[in-house]
Structures are given as C-alpha cells and as structure tokens.
C-alpha cells in the first residue's frame, strides 16, 4: 500500500475536522450528558436537579422487571440474529443458483429492507391482529387454539421475532449473495473433484469463506435487534403483554419519554452504552480470531 504524506501540516486536520465535529456533537456530547444525568434526579422542566449518586442504578438493579427485560433483550437478539442469518444464508444459496427469473426473485427478496421498522410493524399488526388480522382468521378453521398475543406473552414474542427477522432479511441476503458470488468457482470445482457432495462443499468450503460476511452481519444484526427494533415493538406490542416484549431500549424510552423519569432513563441508557461497548469489544477480541479473511 502506498503511503500518502501531506505537505501542509494543517490540511489533514482540517479535512477530518467536520467528521470529528459531527461525532463530538452527536455522539460524545449526548453520551456524556446521559452519563451526567444518570447521577441525578431531574425534573422534566429542568427546574430541579438533585444529586442522587448511584441511586438510579441501584433502583435499576434491584428491580426484577429490569433484569427480566435484560434477559428478554438477549434472548430476542440472539434468536433474531441466528435464525435471521441462517435463513438468509439458505435463501441466498438458492438465489445464487442459476435459475430462470433470477433477477426478479432476487429483487423481491431484497424488498423488505426498504421498509421502515414502524411501517413493517403496522403491516404485521394487520396480518396478525387477533380480531381483524387475516392469519388468525385462517388459523381458526384449522385449530381452536386462540393465537391472542394481547394476552399470551410467548405468541407476542414469536411475532416480534419473526417481524424483526423479516425486516432485516433483505439486508442479510444482499450481503450473503455478494459473498457467495465472490467465491471462485474453481475452489468449489476442486472440492467436487475431491469427491465432496453439495452439503460437504457448503460446510467445508463455502461457509468458512463466508466467515467475514457472517462476522460483519452478526455484529450488525445484534445491534439492529438490540436498538433499531424500537419502532417495531412500539407499533405492535408496546412491550406487552405484561412485560413480555419489553426490551431494554424500549423500557429506557418509556421511562424517559412517557414516564418523564429522566435520571432513571439516563441510567438505563448508560447501562445500554456499556453493554454495546462490551459486546463490540468481545466480538472483535474473540470472534475475529476465527474469521478467515
């Protein structure tokens, strides 16, 4: 790689300055503000700011509902990520085959990604609504079981998981498809010559070669399901029934913007921030070792 050296001492700094400014203004400043706010009890209108020490955090970790919510978030994120990636990889392998109408098939599979999570949520709501949704109506002919996710926590959870997987599906597929196409045919041919069947070929050659893509998608899907599914949950279940679908980010929003408990909500954001830092560090430290680039 060729190294480029600037003659002007200030030019490189001037060039990166806008990006640094944006990061400072939109990332570091709010992050530090949350950090500060998490140590206070703050009134909504800002007239009272009372030092609380770690009282907000103490309240969080004493609350069994919060720990349950943390568990819910992890289960949700892992299921969405693993099932989502497996499904995307499977369909990408099919889409990579030489079949008629491939272009149409591929573009259709990419569509869901173009839909905002909240809109996606509304679509799912219309399909699955216990009383006016089409699916429960169809199911009522097959089984007497009531798929009422207004009251059944696990049904609500399954619904949200499926919606999140569906939402992220196009994106995952696009990356896997690109990854598959980047694998040289000669490598696979060599494996065939050595007598490997399609399944063996996939696990011994294709999958390891795709590991950078998988690694990238894993990180991305984990953060997506941890944070970006807010719109989906807000439009479909609002965290219910009970607190069955109340993931951490949804709780933080609810306590802050509906409950107006600013310090308490800030403490939750700080916990989330710490989790993301840990998660990312963990992934780069351990997952990267097993990735073949």
């Amino acid at each position: 790689m060729k190294r480029f050296v600037f003659r002007n001492r200030w030019l490189p700094y001037a060039l990166v300055a806008p990006q640094v400014a944006v990061t400072l203004a939109f990332f570091f400043w709010p992050a530090f503000d949350s950090l500060r706010l998490s140590l206070y009890r703050a009134s909504p209108f800002g007239d009272r700011l009372i030092w609380a020490g770690f009282a907000n955090f103490e309240r969080l970790f004493r609350d069994p509902a919060y720990l349950r919510s943390a568990l819910t978030s992890f289960v949700f994120s892992f299921v969405v990520t693993f099932a989502g990636l497996a499904l995307a990889l499977l369909l990408a392998s099919f889409a990579n085959a030489k079949i008629r109408g491939l272009a149409v098939y591929r573009s259709l599979l990419l569509w869901p990604y173009g839909i905002a999570p909240a809109i996606g949520g509304i679509i799912w709501l219309f399909i699955f609504h216990p009383s006016y949704g089409i699916l429960p109506w169809v199911l009522s002919f097959v089984t007497a079981y009531q798929f009422n996710w207004f009251l059944k926590g696990w049904v609500a959870m399954t619904l949200i998981v499926m919606a999140a997987i569906w939402k992220q599906f196009g994106y995952n597929l696009a990356f896997y498809l690109a990854g598959l196409q980047a694998i040289e045919a000669s490598v696979l041919e060599a494996a065939s010559v050595d007598g490997a069947g399609p399944i063996r070929r996939f696990f011994a050659v294709t999958f390891p070669l795709l590991s950078p893509v998988t690694f990238f998608l894993f990180t991305l899907n984990m953060t997506f399901s941890f944070f970006d599914t807010f719109g989906l949950i807000h439009s479909v279940t609002q965290g219910g029934p009970g607190d069955a679908t109340s993931i951490l980010v949804y709780r933080a929003w609810k306590d802050g913007f509906e409950g107006l408990q600013l310090g308490f909500s800030a403490a939750q954001s700080v916990v989330l921030m710490a989790l993301v830092i840990l998660l990312t560090a963990f992934q780069f430290r351990f997952a990267e070792k097993r990735v073949t680039y």
């Binding site: 009383s131 006016y132 609002q238």
Partner: protein
C-alpha cells in the same frame, strides 16, 4: 352544495384580502395541541372563530403529535426558553405540570387581566380535578368520562331486551348470553386502567391512592389491592377464563373491536361516541348506559379524563392578555355547547348543559346525555374528585402490565395488584424525592 361553495369562496377571498394587512399588528399566540382527525379540525375551527371575532390577537393552533409527544415538545421548548403560550396536557400529566414551576395558573391569569369568570359554574368533577385549594390551575378543555356502550343488534340476536346492564352481575349474565348466541366478544373495555381500575374505585367511593388520591399531598402508595379492587379483578379474570370478557389491548385499541361490531358490551370514553357513530354507520345500531355498579358499595362518581390547557411562563404581558381573552371565549356558553355537541366531550359549564338541554340537542342525541347525567348524578367525595399522581403515566403502565398478567391467568388477582402497588410505590417515591 352550490351555496356552500359560494360561502367558502367568499371566506377564502376575505381571508386572502382581509388578513395580511392587520396581521402585522396582531399579537401571535401559540397553542400546541394533540387533537387528531376530526377533533383537530374542530380545534382549528375554534382558533379561526376566535381570530375572526377580534383583531388584536392571532391564535395559532399547532398539532404536536400524541399527548406524550406534545408534552415532551413543550418541555423541550420551555428548556430552550421558547415555550408556547398554551399547551394541551392530558389529565395524567396534571401533577407533573402543577409541580413544574413552569406554569402561569389560569385563575391568576384571569385575575391579572381583570376578566371575571364564574368558576362555580364549572361542573363539579371538572372543577375538582383541575383545581387546588379551590383555584383553577389549568383551563378545562376536553373532558370525558367513561360510559357503557352496547351493540343493539347483538342484543337482539341473543334475544335480550334493549336495555343496557346496570350492574356487574347483569354484565356477566348478558355477556354470557351474548357469547352463547355466537358473539365473538361479550364484554370488553378500552383504556383498561382508566375504565376498570381508576373509575371503578371512584364510582364505588373507594380510595385509589393515599392522601385522598394525591389531593391532600403527594401520593406515596396506591390502594388498589384492597377488597374492592381484588373482587373487581377476580371477576374480570374469571370472565377472561370463561370467555365472556375479551381483553383487547392497552390505550383505545379495543375500540377497533367494538367499532367492528364484535363486542356486545363495551366500556370506553364518552368521547368515543363520534368515532363509533362513524364506524357503525350502516352496519349496526348501538346505545349507551351509565357505568355498571357492584352492589354493596357506596355511591361515588366517575372521574374524568381528557386534557386541559396550561399557560406557560415566559411570555410578554400583552400576549397573556390575549391568552386570557381567548380563554374567555373558550368558556363562553356558546362555544362550550358547540364544542360538546360536535365532539362528544362533556360540556364544562352548567350553563352549557342547560343550553344544550333547551336547544333539544340531548333529545336528538340521547347518547350524549348519558355521560352528563352520570357525572351530575354522582357524589363528589375525596375518592371521586379525581386522581393526582406524580409520574402517573408510568404508574398507569405498571397497573396495565399487571392487569394483563391477571387476565391471562399468569397471576392471581391479589398477587398482580400487590405487584402493581409495589412497583408504582417505587415510581411515586421517586417523584416525592424530587419534589420534597
């Protein structure tokens, strides 16, 4: 039709030609609100009528999203020192506003501007909910109270008489017959905590929270896990299990089921009348009745929901004069009777009730009389004057979470209510710590 088009044309011309010149001299008053669809149009109409009635002030009605969104927008604006003059805040935010130190109390505003208002003409429940020590802190605007709705077609199909159930025993018996005759949902309710917990306690003169529901000092503990609350939840839990009560979600989500003609008996806000009229048009007929009672408990009153208009600190005196003039217009009998008539919200003054009575409005719209009769016929006691809690939105959330756990059979009624009391205790304690 043609004549209406003509009027619209004339109005447009008047607006185009007439407004720009004096607009420069007019004092602008910002009114942030959360009214959508038809209600939003009515709000614009109020502003337009007031603006046309004088030429010193221009009220600008601005939609800011849902109730919580509107409150958050006002908070952000206040912190940035750019508050609107008037903001519409839902009843749940009352204590937050009272404690905020950011508001200019309405009784003071009117007094400072020398406008005499007969506050005693406000109907009791509205006045008690929004007053402190007899002084009104925010301008009553859209208030409603829950009532019972019933689907007459489903009643007929089940061979039932065309009368709404008056007690919970009747609700159960009728709902069972309805589902027996094939109805998908015998009984359901919107706004679960408001209709089934808050209002049921008030209606039966049972305490909802300590310190007289927060009116005699900051409330620190809910009292919904007493004998009455448990009986109520056990009844509903049994109903859900036996199939005559269908839970249809938080907020007003259940209205979709009532509007779709599925439910026989239904509890919701009296302000639902307008939407139900539209949803049921040409599909089914319905009637209304007062909230069902449980025998053996004293008479209280139902409490109100909805929102009021708060005046924010930080504007100029001449702007406040405009706000006061605008409120005087809002309180006028003419405006009150019109607003209640077109929306289904309660008329807020006794004079407006009388005006609607004498104009024959209630005769033509009997469903709108139900809420008024229920409110005026109840007894205002420390338990039924209203509920004033800090962080009420979070408290309500804690209650509804447990209601879902009870209805699904995950928890016994007593256990669920105990858990709701414990969780909301934490929330209330936080608020008290902030405003000690």
């Amino acid at each position: 039709m043609e004549r209406r088009a003509g009027i619209v044309l004339v109005l447009t011309v008047v607006l185009l030609v007439g407004v720009p010149a004096p607009a420069l001299a007019k004092t602008e008053i910002q009114w942030w609100h959360a009214m959508t669809a038809v209600l939003g149009e009515r709000v614009n109409e109020i502003a337009a009528k007031f603006n046309a009635s004088q030429n010193e002030y221009e009220v600008k009605a601005i939609y800011k999203g849902s109730y919580p969104d509107t409150l958050n927008a006002a908070i952000a604006a206040y912190r940035a020192k750019q508050p609107p003059h008037i903001v519409q805040v839902f009843e749940v935010g009352t204590q937050t506003m009272l404690s905020s130190g950011a508001v200019y109390p309405v009784f003071q505003l009117m007094r400072d501007n020398g406008i005499a208002v007969d506050w005693n003409d406000l109907i009791g429940p509205v006045k008690s909910y929004y007053s402190t020590a007899g002084n009104l802190y925010s301008m009553a605007f859209n208030s409603s109270t829950p009532i019972l709705f019933y689907n007459k077609d489903l009643f007929k199909k089940a061979g039932l008489a065309d009368t709404p159930p008056a007690t919970w025993d009747e609700v159960e018996a009728i709902a069972k017959k309805l589902t027996g005759a094939g109805a998908k949902c015998g009984f359901s309710a919107a706004w679960p905590s408001w209709t089934l917990v808050e209002n049921m306690h008030a209606l039966h003169d049972q305490p909802f929270a300590d310190h007289a529901n927060g009116f005699d000092g900051l409330a620190t503990r809910l009292q919904i896990n007493g004998a009455f609350g448990v009986t109520m939840m056990e009844l509903l839990q049994r109903g859900a299990k036996e199939g005559w009560f269908t839970y249809n979600g938080r907020l007003n989500k259940a209205e979709a089921n009532m509007g779709g003609g599925e439910c026989g008996i239904f509890l919701s806000s009296s302000a639902y009348i307008g939407n139900l009229t539209r949803a049921s048009e040409g599909k089914f007929t319905w009637g209304t009745g007062p909230l069902p009672r449980m025998s053996g408990y004293p008479q209280g009153n139902s409490i109100i929901g909805g929102a009021t208009l708060w005046v924010m600190k930080g504007a100029k005196p001449e702007e406040y004069t405009g706000v006061a003039q605008f409120f005087k217009y809002l309180a006028s009998t003419e405006n009150q009777a019109w607003w209640a008539g077109v929306t289904g919200y309660l008329p807020l003054t006794n004079a407006a009730v009388k005006a609607m009575e004498s104009s024959g409005h209630f005769q033509k719209n009997p469903s709108q009389r139900t809420a008024v009769t229920q409110m005026l016929g109840g007894k205002t006691t420390p338990n039924s004057q209203g509920i004033r809690l800090g962080n009420f939105a979070s408290v309500r959330d804690a209650i509804e979470e447990q209601m879902e756990n009870i209805f699904s059979g995950k928890k016994a009624a007593k256990q669920g209510l105990d858990d709701a009391v414990a969780k909301s205790g934490e929330i209330l304690k936080e608020f008290a710590a902030l405003y000690k």
